[in-house]
């Protein structure tokens, strides 16, 4: 992966970017705190493929130049990658046990949690001590004459943690398992991007075009 430094005003946002970017201010705060850890991906004409939020954040911060990867993708592949990148991000969920542990580690390490981009109520809840289930409390016994609350058991059989030393090893791993491995923007541990994935690939259908209504 060849990372170049390019003037911000040379980049062009993709006009039909299908993903809204409401988190530009948060990403700006993140870049300010941690630096620019993930380059913007552009096509040969310097039109942004992925990284619109980082681009908007760079403008907020008044950056003159940014790290960029020029992707060797034709127009169709760039469009597909743009959608897939955003779509795969939608499927990410937090591992809350890890998240809470990490937050407590950060507190112990003199870190201001307000810089993480969580809402106040979210942080309060994550740091609450709320881990007891009383003997008397059996919610399923109370939940009669109410809408069904059925879920599948989607817990993993096992979680395997694999560390890679560099981008070449990452590409090799990606090829071996036949999956694109994306460096997640939102999830990092000790500053290292974490990618969570399933083998084999499991797409979580979010049913965005569906909704509940009553007659």
């Amino acid at each position: 992966m060849n990372i170049e430094t390019i003037q911000l005003d040379q980049l062009t946002p993709y006009q039909k970017n299908p993903r809204k970017n409401p988190n530009a201010e948060k990403v700006a705060a993140s870049i300010q705190e941690y630096g620019f850890q993930q380059p913007i991906v552009v096509d040969k004409n310097l039109v942004i493929v992925v990284g619109h939020t980082r681009y908007a954040a760079s403008k907020i911060l008044g950056l003159k130049e940014v790290p960029v990867v020029v992707a060797d993708l034709d127009e169709k592949k760039a469009t597909a990658y743009r959608i897939a990148d955003n779509r795969l991000n939608q499927d990410t969920d937090w591992e809350y046990k890890f998240l809470t542990e990490e937050l407590n580690d950060l507190i112990n390490g003199d870190f201001d949690l307000s810089k993480l981009g969580f809402e106040d109520a979210e942080l309060d809840s994550l740091l609450s001590i709320d881990d007891v289930q009383a003997d008397w409390f059996k919610p399923e016994e109370h939940w009669n004459d109410m809408p069904s609350f059925d879920h599948q058991d989607l817990k993993p059989y096992r979680t395997v943690v694999i560390h890679v030393r560099n981008s070449d090893d990452l590409a090799d791993l990606s090829q071996r398992i036949g999956q694109d491995i994306k460096d997640s923007e939102q999830e990092k541990r000790n500053g290292v991007p974490v990618t969570s994935m399933w083998h084999p690939v499991r797409i979580n259908d979010v049913l965005k075009d569906k909704g509940y209504t009553s007659e």
Binding site: D112, D120, L127, I129, D130, P156, S214
Partner: protein, 293 residues
Amino acid sequence: MNNPQFPLYIPSKGRADSRLTAKALDSMQVPYRLVIEEQEYKDYLEHVDKDKLLILDKKFQDEYDTCDDLGATRSKGPGAARNFIWEHAISEGHAWHWVMDDNIKSFRRWRDNKRIKCYDGTPFKAMEDFVLRYKNVAMAGPNYMFFVVDKWAKDYGPFTVNTRIYSCNLIRNDVPFRWRGRYNEDTDLSLQMLKAKWCTIQFNAFLQEKANTQTVKGGNTQEFYAKEGTAPKSAMQMRLHPDVSKMVWRYGRPHHHVNYNKFKKENRLILKDDYVVKQGVNEYGMKLKTIRS
């Protein structure tokens, strides 16, 4: 179509344009009223029918207990408007009321490991029906969508009890508590209720999708968190609830943890004497349909 039986209120400040919660409720055809400050009336009137606007009585701001000595030198937060709402609901003869933050993007049902948008008032109706079974529930509301994880869904119940209820609160009107404090009002009100042996119910079967605070301009709390950080908030939490709060200081920066476990063990849900719960499932007529936007 199901609609809530109790009134919905949204205190709103500086968000005449965005009005996320109001728009979400419009899409569900659920009636509501926005509670605004007088000086913003014209701004809101440009976007909202006047029948949906209530002007906050300044008396509630003047008399609001901020739980500190800073008076009107800085924003008092949303508590005064929420107390106005509480009294307004009582004056209209309601036994309960809903009060919601003005940055909720959608309301969802969580089922089959998916968080699906709801397009009518059924979630509110179902949540109301559920809490009305019990004689000792003081407050309830949907969990944040952010806090449930689809792959672990089997580990969650449809609701949990005796924890903090935030951002979308169904409140029983005849309980002797009121909003107070410049910060952390949701935690404080929940703890006032829990310490008096009332129960709270947080639903996982129904969820609220909050917008990120920093991405929506306006609001009551944004200005002082931006300027002051979280230190005054943690200090207030310790002052009001030292018995269930733990403060951790690191290099002059405080963080607080609230322990709800005592209430989870001790405050039991009690069914109303004459209430018989029917067995089985009641979908309230809800069906999953394709929505054309």
